[in-house]
């Protein structure tokens, strides 16, 4: 029936054969669109995410340290520090063939992921200082012990970059081999829309936190959706357009699952994050103090790579680049790659541009 349907294009006088073939192909695609749409609606399948095998090395409250083993051919292991809250970390290990973690382990890097976890109301007292001076040092220590290595490279993504940089700058005794900042903001004077919306003249963070206690996941979602209000429209339009392609559909299902799972922020963490970073811009100015130690980014002297995304509206390139200007490393590089904040590290483009660049840079220095 299906084949007969696709050859049913009528004999139209004057219709060129190639046009007839293309109309048949379009008819086939429309049939597949209806088929896949009905499957998505009637028999939705939970997408399988996080395919790369891992083991839990350490647990502290809600946070976990995961190890993704490799053949260890690339040298120093890698500690990956993502954003705290906001979204789940399985975006970095989304699906087979579409996983940054899978790629790096195949390149021979032992990969350690800091999974901050999902914080509850009992964690509303957690501060940025706690994350930097209590959680991260333990995670780094456990990762080093587990790997048996004498040195470790660190990669911070998004908020994880300034957090990990604060940890490394206040703990110079940590045997840091290389440091990578991927789409992590350092100069919050150029942070774009969030910087404008969180301006202290318009946003009273104290009142916000004192009233709500924590920042609910729905509020976090609203904030990020507002950055690109037309995103949902274009996403659904592209879905309809590519609905005939089963690979696209499985990729969409996985990414859509992640894009709708937002996480809450602990209240005190959000307060300090907004006040010290977005409003005060203390990190790049050298005014940030953590557990009595001033955070001086110039104490980072290992090779540093900063990766900005050209279409990033969460951490625009101008707020990522300043890192390489303040560290005291001789070997420092800034690159700007195609993509947005998420597509820099997850997606088809990432596997072409970002992953090989990061792996190659690390491999030559490990």
């Amino acid at each position: 029936m299906k084949d007969h349907l696709f050859t049913m294009t009528p004999e139209v006088p004057g219709l060129p054969p190639e046009m007839r073939e293309r109309m048949q192909e379009e008819l086939r695609r429309n049939f597949l669109r209806m088929k896949h749409f009905s499957e998505m609606v009637m028999t939705p399948k939970e997408p399988e995410v996080g395919p790369t095998p891992r083991e839990e090395i350490y647990r502290k409250n809600k946070s976990r340290l995961w190890r993704y083993a490799s053949r260890r051919t690339a040298g120093a292991p890698l500690l990956f520090v993502p954003n705290l809250g906001i979204s789940r970390p399985y975006i970095f290990d989304l699906m087979p063939g579409g996983s940054f973690i899978e790629y790096m382990t195949r390149q021979g890097f032992d990969f350690y992921l800091v999974d901050w976890g999902v914080f509850g109301p009992e964690d509303n007292g957690l501060t940025v200082e706690d994350a930097v001076t209590k959680i991260l040092p333990r995670m780094a220590k456990k990762a080093l012990e587990s790997s048996g290595a004498s040195e470790m490279s660190v990669l911070g993504y998004c908020m994880g970059a300034p957090l990990s940089a604060c940890f490394l700058a206040t703990h110079p005794e940590f045997p840091l081999k290389n440091y990578i900042d991927m789409a992590g903001p350092f100069d919050f004077a150029h942070v774009g829309l969030f910087g404008t919306w969180l301006d202290p003249r318009f946003f009273d963070v104290d009142r916000y936190v004192d009233t709500l206690g924590s920042i609910p996941a729905d509020m976090v979602k609203l904030g990020f959706k507002l950055l690109k209000p037309t995103m949902d429209l274009s996403t659904n339009l592209n879905l309809w357009w590519n609905l005939w392609n089963p690979e696209y559909v499985s990729g969409f299902n996985a990414l859509n699952k992640w894009a709708n799972e937002y996480l809450p922020f602990p209240g005190e963490f959000f307060r300090h994050w907004v006040k010290d970073f977005y409003q005060g811009n203390k990190l790049i100015k050298g005014e940030l103090v953590m557990a009595g130690r001033t955070v001086r980014l110039e104490t980072i002297s290992c090779p540093v790579l900063a990766v900005g995304a050209k279409e990033d509206n969460i951490a625009p390139p101008n707020c990522v680049k300043p890192l390489v200007q303040v560290v005291s490393s001789r070997d420092r590089e800034y690159v700007e790659l195609p993509g947005g904040h998420i597509s820099l590290i997850a997606g088809r483009g990432a596997s072409v541009h970002c992953w090989p660049k990061v792996a190659g840079w690390l491999a030559s220095r490990s």
């Binding site: 109301p121 009992e122 919306w197 946003f203 009142r207 709500l212 037309t230 339009l237």
Partner: protein, 174 residues
């Protein structure tokens, strides 16, 4: 008698919708002028209709037409996104959003408190632990975990020093 929180929320929503409309017009420099609903949308409509006319004059429906239509919609969405981004990057928008948030918090605080009190009373009557009590227990567990880790760190430091001492003693004997 205290105001009904539901009525307060509805009034807030209604005021927010009105304020949002005024703020939008103010951002576009139309405050004080007669409202012209077409003023904002006319450039998009003109552009869209011109592109649509061009597409329709190209001939009968074909797969190419579908691709062109998709491209046209993509460009239209991109244009909307750009205009919206420009509007949202203004201080006026940030100010309006901040005011809306403050209004929300003004109503949310007493509503949240009232709801929490009612739930706590109900749970207490049923003999079930309240959220606050569960959170308090969880916080204590977090603090205990922190203390245990502190003890672990001290033990590690002591063991490290003992190892250093014994290495130094062995080195002296040799």
């Amino acid at each position: 008698m205290a105001e009904n929180p539901s009525q307060q929320l509805f009034d807030l929503w209604k005021k927010q919708a009105e304020d949002a409309g005024q703020a939008w017009l103010k951002m576009l420099g139309q405050q004080g002028q007669p409202v012209d609903p077409q003023a904002f949308w006319r450039p998009f409509m003109d552009q869209g209709m011109a592109a649509w006319s061009k597409v329709m004059t190209q001939g009968s429906a074909s797969p190419d037409l579908m691709a062109q239509w998709k491209q046209f919609i993509d460009q239209w969405i991109a244009a909307w996104a750009k205009v919206l981004e420009q509007a949202m990057s203004t201080e006026a928008f940030a100010q309006a959003m901040g005011k809306q948030l403050e209004s929300f918090l003004s109503v949310a605080a007493p509503a949240k408190k009232a709801a929490e009190q009612q739930i706590e009373s109900a749970l207490s009557a049923l003999g079930v632990p309240s959220r606050g009590q569960v959170v308090a227990v969880a916080s204590q567990i977090v603090q205990l975990e922190e203390k245990i880790e502190g003890l672990e760190d001290r033990l590690d430091t002591i063991l490290k020093r003992l190892n250093e001492l014994s290495s130094a003693v062995r080195a002296e004997r040799v």
